[in-house]
């Protein structure tokens, strides 16, 4: 707000051309200096020899002399610095706004007046004096003396106190039918059944409502409902997004974790800790692993990681963006802060430095998004852990022993070991992604293709060796692209028109695919310059796609030289997509499976070594060695025998291959990036959090390792550490998790209390749940928010207790209708209408938006609640919990860029009739029906849903296959209950709207059903406003 006013003032000056008076200096120019200049031009740093702290400093100028010539803007260096196409100053952040420059110019023109004693200070960083950053303490509950007020619990006291301040009053309670429908949608995301409604109405006990609350909170469907809210905030999706949007088949365990955590009412602090560092803080638990899906929930750029190495600029950008998403997801979700704004410069509005932003990146510096293996059975996990430890112990013992033996073996053994190491590397060497030569793709199989090598001059050829490709495309693997029929010829004519000599002819019958076994042709003895392979029947690649590919061709001389190595290769056509596919791969002396040659050599050497060792070893050492070997073999055997591990798509420090190599747990170096650019790395930073909360960020660790001793905690600056060891990545996350879950962290508890409130009332006490900073909204009821946060923090951190507190309040139970507070309805819109009957103000005039909650908010069903309610009333809801998501699309072309074709899916397929929380969520092609109904976009962190209304929405609720099919199913269900149209009309109302129809409604609907059939009647009811809105 202040900024706006300053801006307005500046604008006015500019518009009127009036010079600002000297006393405006403080509001205009001084403010610019303080925000944009003093972080460098202060008395300590004095960059360029210039300080702008006092008038004296200003007039003293800098290294280049005076910066201001009072009264003469044209001669003032200061203006040169901040103007031009690329202003030299300020060094960080955007250039000064035109209005700001104009203000400085006007100030200089007016004599550069500076109140004599005014000392400026650096305000480049916003101060921490902000409501959300203040410590959290329990506020006093207001005393409400008005006997007319209904106070169920302190929530009502806070709400009523504020209403009274404004001369407003509570609305009466909603009727029981409305209440049970509201509460049911709110807590479990489904409407009540007619039987549930009738039972509730019949229960005259005072505790009936409370029992209903208990029942719904205890329902497993509570977790399914509220997990969806959480997944909105963390932007959970099940494909990567971006280009070639691949599915994440193992993302769902995180979704199930969230449901389970909510249903079991996991303490909120632990919920946070598990999602950031469950593997470190709660080792050996399934929750501790599956929760890490949080870190990987957001989008991931497959091409930027898998096709680009970290050394390329675009590869760096992809990884920077990836970490940025992790940082923003963590701080936005748990703290309601917008730290992302500090990526290029200090946060403009909140006390977050650019350094702190990169310290947060350092917390995630070793992580990537990848499938992480784990054991669901804790006993198996425990056993695996033990076995891994045991094998590690055995290995270390063996190493010790081997060192001892080596020292006995001398130079000769050392040489042998060096050779073994070399061959081991060759044998286990990663297969290189240089697949081979690949022809153009043909729609028909009997197309002739050729590829040939030019040996440079006629050469005497003794043998041929050729090997097929290996590519996992379409699951083909070994033998990819190997032709069914082909021949190999030699000639001195590059066109192969004359002088053609056949070396191999396989054109008469289909050949079996050889896999990657080398094919050999011996005893040739032909002299020629060119060798050509011609195919007459191509290899199938897809049902209507045929190709010819070959990994390697060796043309060998009698003395075993490969004449083709590195020779020019030509072909009828070729797909050149290096490094995987290019003609030169055919003669690069590398082929898939080459390593197995090294393996046989290795076996020989190992045998040799054993013989030598036998000579070196005394019986005792030999025995010990044998024993160790046996124990290792046994342990490995046992490890292998354990049940296979499960996978969850999570944030993990993995070791990968190729461009997407991962880190194996060694953290990447994180530098402060000037203007957020990866090409301008500055100082390297270690992990840390935010200083403004004054809480310790400590890497102490539950698992003391060698890394901890190397760590230096910077005690002078809480919330930050100096560079620690590179391999303590888990400890970094644990430190951040503890820093966030710290009971003293005011943001954490305020943030979650506000989110829970929002989902109950449709609006948060703070209307910007992801932003508690200066650009966010202010709380409407700051004391109530703090009271709720303290209750949650102190009440076992139980979200269910918080829910109960909220829904038991009178505030929650109010009617959503605009009550007659003594006004006539006709008065309501009339500003000047006197209030004849009551002292109470008309709330529609003073609080039309109901920010003070003088009534309940009527809410439109979210996409999921609408879809689930339709399934339920149609009698088709499959309530199976958990497991892989259902897919309501057909994937076309999965091999390259999957097309998610929703229109090809049969809406009648019962696999899709589960609750919407179990829907497979695609990023690049979101489900159109749900998207039109404002479901969350998994590419952004959604703190509150849009609630739009449009013609397109009317069209999908009328015409989408799901709605049409469910109308028919509902009709089938109701037909079995009654054949009478009057009764049918009543049943539809009861099931969908939790009430009987009025006589008029019943007549109208029954008449329609009689004329057009029950399915059409069902479709009408599913499109009623009353079905879509909750009072």
């Amino acid at each position: 707000m202040m900024r706006t006013i300053i801006f307005l003032l500046l604008t006015l000056h500019v518009l009127t051309g009036a010079a600002p008076a000297a006393d405006d200096f403080n509001k205009t120019v001084a403010a610019i200096f303080e925000r944009r200049c003093l972080s460098c031009h202060n008395n300590k740093d004095k960059k360029g020899g210039l300080s702008l702290v006092t008038q004296r400093d200003l007039l003293a100028g800098g290294e280049n002399g005076a910066v201001v010539a009072p009264g003469k803007p044209a001669e003032s260096l200061l203006l040169d610095y901040v103007t031009g196409d690329k202003p030299a100053m300020p060094k960080t952040g955007p250039p000064l706004a035109v209005e700001e420059v104009a203000a400085i110019r006007a100030w200089i023109a007016a004599g550069a007046k500076w109140p004599g004693d005014l000392v400026l200070r650096d305000r480049s960083l916003a101060d921490a004096n902000w409501w959300s950053l203040k410590p959290l303490t329990r506020p006093a509950v207001p005393q409400i003396r008005n006997p007319k007020s209904k106070i169920q619990n302190p929530i009502d006291a806070f709400i009523v106190a504020k209403l009274q301040e404004r001369g407003l009053a509570q609305s009466p309670a909603a009727n029981p039918r409305t209440l049970i429908r509201r509460l049911s949608f709110d807590l479990i995301g489904l409407p009540p059944t007619p039987a549930e409604v009738e039972a509730f109405l019949a229960d005259k006990d005072e505790q009936a409502y409370e029992r209903l609350v208990y029942r719904l909170l205890a329902s497993p469907q509570y977790g399914e409902r509220w997990a969806r809210h959480w997944l909105d905030v963390v932007h959970f999706g099940e494909t990567h997004g971006y280009d070639k949007d691949k599915p994440r088949p193992n993302a769902w365990p995180y979704r199930d974790y969230v449901i389970r955590a909510l249903n079991s009412d996991k303490p909120y602090g632990r919920f946070i800790e598990e999602q950031l560092a469950g593997d470190v803080l709660y080792p050996g638990t399934v929750d501790g692993i599956e929760a890490l899906g949080f870190i990987a929930a957001g989008p991931w750029d497959f091409i930027g990681h898998a096709e680009l190495p970290e050394t390329k600029i675009d590869g760096k950008v992809a990884r920077h963006l990836d970490r940025d998403d992790m940082v923003q997801n963590a701080t936005g979700t748990f703290l309601s802060l917008t730290v992302g704004c500090a990526q290029c410069h200090n946060h403009k509005f909140d006390p977050i430095t650019q350094r702190e932003y990169y310290q947060l990146q350092a917390v995630f510096a070793a992580l990537d998004r990848h499938d992480k293996p784990y054991d669901r059975d804790p006993a198996v996990a425990k056993r695996r852990g033990e076995m891994v430890k045991q094998t590690a112990g055995l290995a270390s013992e063996r190493n010790k022993l081997d060192e001892e033996i080596k020292s006995r073996g001398g130079e000769e053994l050392r040489k042998l070991d060096a050779r073994i190491a070399e061959q081991t590397k060759a044998a286990s060497g990663k297969e290189r992604p240089e697949f081979g030569y690949h022809s153009a793709i043909e729609p028909k199989q009997d197309v002739t293709k050729w590829v040939q090598v030019d040996l440079g001059s006629p050469q005497r050829i003794a043998r041929l060796e050729y090997v097929a490709c290996h590519d996992d495309f379409n699951g083909i693997g070994a033998g990819f692209g190997f032709p069914l029929r082909y021949k190999i010829e030699a000639s001195n004519d590059p066109e192969f028109k004359t002088d053609v000599r056949a070396l191999v002819d396989r054109t008469t019958a289909d050949v079996a695919n050889p896999g990657v076994a080398p094919q050999r042709v011996e005893s040739i003895d032909v002299t020629a310059r060119y060798v050509r392979i011609t195919t007459t029947k191509l290899a199938p690649r897809l049902p209507n796609d045929f190709i010819f590919a070959l990994g390697e061709l060796s043309v060998l001389s009698a003395d075993g030289r490969n004449l083709a190595a590195g020779a020019p290769v030509t072909a009828l056509d070729s797909i050149e997509a290096p490094v995987r596919w290019r003609r030169s791969n055919l003669v690069d002396s590398y082929y898939f499976g080459q390593a197995s040659g090294a393996a046989s050599e290795l076996a020989k050497l190992a045998k040799d070594r054993e013989v030598r060792l036998a000579r070196l070893l005394d019986p005792e050492t030999k025995h010990k060695r044998d024993e160790l070997a046996a124990a290792t073999a046994k342990a490995e055997q046992e490890l292998k025998a354990l049940p296979p591990q499960q996978l969850v798509y999570a944030g993990t420090a993995f070791r990968g291959e190729g461009n997407f190599a991962g880190t194996g747990g060694v953290t990447r170096s994180i530098h402060i990036l000037a203007r957020g650019s990866v090409t301008q790395p500055g100082e390297e930073v270690g992990p840390g959090a935010l200083a403004c909360l004054n809480l310790p960020f400590q890497i102490t660790g539950t698992k003391p390792g060698p890394d901890v001793s190397q760590l230096v905690i910077n005690s002078a600056s809480p919330g930050a550490s100096l560079l620690p060891a590179k391999d303590n990545e888990g400890e970094r996350r644990a430190a951040l998790a503890r820093w966030i879950s710290d009971p003293r962290n005011p943001l954490t508890w305020r943030s979650i209390a506000n989110r829970v409130w929002q989902y109950h009332f449709g609006r948060g006490l703070v209307d910007t749940p992801n932003d508690f900073g200066r650009m966010g909204a202010l709380p409407t009821h700051p004391e109530l928010l703090d009271w709720l946060a303290v209750e949650l923090r102190g009440g076992g951190q139980s979200l269910k207790k918080l829910h109960k507190l909220i829904v038991m309040s009178q505030t929650y139970r109010q009617t959503s209708e605009i009550s007659d507070f003594g006004f006539q309805n006709s008065d309501l819109g009339d500003r000047d209408a006197p209030n004849p009957k009551s002292e109470i103000q008309n709330p529609q005039l003073s609080d039309g938006e109901n920010r003070l909650l003088w009534r309940a908010n009527r809410r439109r069903l979210e996409a999921e609640a609408l879809r689930d309610a339709v399934l339920l009333v149609a009698g088709k809801l499959d309530t199976t919990m958990g497991g892989p998501s259902f897919q309501d699309f057909v994937i076309e072309r999965p091999e390259h860029s999957p097309h998610y074709a929703y229109h090809l899916f049969d809406p009648d397929d019962p696999r899709s009739h589960r609750r919407s929380i179990y829907r497979f969520i695609v990023r690049s092609q979101p489900q159109p029906f749900m998207t039109t109904l404002d479901c969350a976009d998994p590419s952004q962190r959604v703190d509150k849903r849009n609630e739009s209304l449009s013609a397109l929405q009317a069209l999908v609720t009328l015409n989408n296959g799901f709605m049409v099919v469910m109308s028919r199913h509902w009709a089938e269900r109701v037909e079995k209950m009654s054949a009478n149209v009057d009764e049918q009309a009543a049943i539809l109302f009861g099931q969908a709207l939790a009430r009987p129809p009025t006589a008029d409604e019943r007549r109208a609907l029954a008449a329609y059903i009689g004329e057009y059939g029950l399915a059409n009647g069902c479709r009408v009811v599913l499109n009623l406003s009353e079905f879509v809105f909750v009072d």
């Binding site: 307005l8 955007p94 650009m775 938006e849 998610y900 990023r923 092609q925 013609a951 069209l955």
Partner: protein, 504 residues
């Protein structure tokens, strides 16, 4: 209404404070409900002539030069140096080892020898602009086009680069340009969607629908996907095939019954404008069911128009190989449909050429063979685009319609070993045409190779193109903002300069 003739005094200058108030108001009206939708649905049709109905801007920031936009997007990265930006130096040095005078990072390390333009270039129009042979059809309208040859991107990764051109950000989660225009200006005809997307019928480009997503803007500002000439051009416009129990009689009676029950429901709940708006939305849906098929029906187009677009003879089947005839028919059909949509008040039409970057190539990502893919794609594009421009001009609509031709990046002046070219995010071409655009100009030259801008310190960025288009629509790009997660977001982020040289 002709905006250019309007007295400028009606465009109130918004003070910052006023904007804030309005934004606060819009954000809060009706319990956080999409207030704009509400406004759109409840607004008197005659109310906001200038900006259309339901736009976030109470008044335009300055008199507009255009009302509508067509964005032609070549997915996969079209090669400027083979089509629009002739480089004699490449002809001279063809086949010589490439030397950029500096280390270059190429996406697939495709830094083979210099590769001359694949096609002959010939001068066209009064401006004498040189065009590559496949786009020669644009020659007739070339004096209406303004070329920008020094556009630079930020990345050579298709997905990020495509998002950057469509949304102004290189990561998902931001509204497309069409969504911003729809949000800011509102609808010219409530019976039609404001923002329509005509994708390549063979599949979506990188990022799928995220390129036209409304993101944090209300859902109705998302691009509505239309597949002209298919059995279901607009999803859910009519009941799903399983709804065989629905007849036109049952539908009419259903509308009447819903209207009655919903009106009663609303009457019992006074003071909630959303309930009235929802009733209106069903009436609009019914109108759209009539208006949309009519807009997509090309049967009433006269022969000379079909000829203009190359749609007068449509074969029943096409070759398996990529070919110019097929590309022309697909692209031209979208152009003709675009013209009909524009005539009926659609504000923003985005036409795509090229599907995902897979094989066989039906996209502009010509790593292997520029001639094979670019030839037919460019010929089809040029025919359709030239026809659209001619057709709009002869109807007097070109003056108020901006056409932007763009792609995610360019292609390298070196070959990728053979007949293909690798990605070049360092320099590529856009062209613009129509309302407020100065025709016949070539702005911002590239260097002698087409590798980078000639003046590297002053390139053109997507922000500048977006700022210019918003400017022509009467919008100051710095003042169309929405607060989201603590930041006042806008199409141009914190960048963007209106390119004065392009303005007529």
């Amino acid at each position: 209404m002709n905006m250019q003739g309007t007295n400028t005094s009606q465009y109130s200058v918004l003070s910052p404070r006023y904007e804030l108030t309005r934004r606060e108001l819009l954000a809060t009206v009706g319990q956080g409900f999409g207030a704009l939708a509400l406004a759109a649905l409840l607004q008197d049709d005659s109310a906001a002539e200038a900006a259309g109905t339901g736009g976030a801007l109470a008044a335009l920031h300055h008199p507009p030069r255009a009302k509508r936009v067509v964005q032609l997007f070549m997915a996969g990265a079209a090669s400027a140096i083979d089509l629009f930006d002739f480089k004699p130096e490449l002809v001279k040095r063809h086949g010589q080892p490439s030397d950029f005078g500096e280390p270059v990072e190429a996406f697939q390390n495709g830094l083979g020898p210099w590769l001359k333009p694949i096609w002959e270039f010939r001068p066209h129009g009064d401006s004498g602009k040189l065009l590559g042979e496949p786009v020669a059809k644009l020659g007739k309208v070339v004096d209406k086009l303004a070329f920008v040859h020094n556009v630079v991107g930020k990345t050579g990764v298709h997905s990020q680069a495509t998002l950057l051109q469509t949304t102004g950000f290189q990561l998902p989660g931001f509204p497309g340009m069409g969504s911003w225009v729809s949000y800011g200006l509102g609808s010219l005809n409530d019976n039609m969607p404001t923002f329509v997307v005509l994708p390549d019928h063979r599949g979506l480009a990188s990022n799928g629908t995220k390129n036209w997503d409304s993101a944090f803007l209300p859902a109705q500002h998302s691009g509505t996907v239309i597949y002209p000439g298919t059995p279901t051009p607009i999803a859910d416009l009519f009941p799903h095939q399983k709804g065989d129990f629905i007849t036109s009689q049952s539908e009419a009676a259903a509308q009447a019954l819903m209207s009655r029950l919903n009106h009663e429901h609303a009457a019992e709940r006074p003071g909630d404008a959303r309930l009235e708006a929802r009733i209106k939305s069903y009436e609009l849906a019914a109108k759209m069911q009539l208006a949309a098929p009519e807009a997509l029906n090309l049967a009433d187009e006269p022969e000379h128009i079909l000829k203009l677009y190359g749609l007068d003879h449509i074969p029943s089947a096409f070759d398996q190989e990529i070919n110019a005839l097929e590309e022309t028919i697909h692209f031209s059909r979208k152009c003709l449909v675009a013209r009909r949509l524009l005539e009926r008040g659609v504000r923003f039409v985005q036409i795509w050429s090229g599907n995902d970057n897979g094989f066989p190539r039906r996209n502009w990502d010509s790593h292997e063979d520029v001639e094979r893919d670019h030839g037919p794609l460019a010929a089809g594009m040029a025919r359709g685009a030239a026809a659209l421009i001619t057709d709009l001009a002869q109807r007097g609509l070109l003056d108020e319609t901006i056409i932007l031709w763009t792609t995610e990046f360019g292609r390298m002046p070196s070959s990728q070993g053979g007949k293909g070219r690798d990605h070049n995010p360092y320099c590529f071409t856009n062209w613009l045409c129509g309302g407020g655009i100065r025709g016949g100009v070539t702005y911002g030259p590239s260097d002698q190779w087409g590798y980078k801008p000639a003046d590297r310190d002053n390139p053109t960025q997507v922000y500048d193109i977006h700022a210019t288009i918003l400017h022509l629509l009467g919008i100051d790009h710095t003042r169309l903002t929405v607060r989201h997660n603590g930041i006042d977001r806008r199409l141009t982020d914190v960048h963007g300069q209106v390119i004065g040289e392009l303005l007529a």
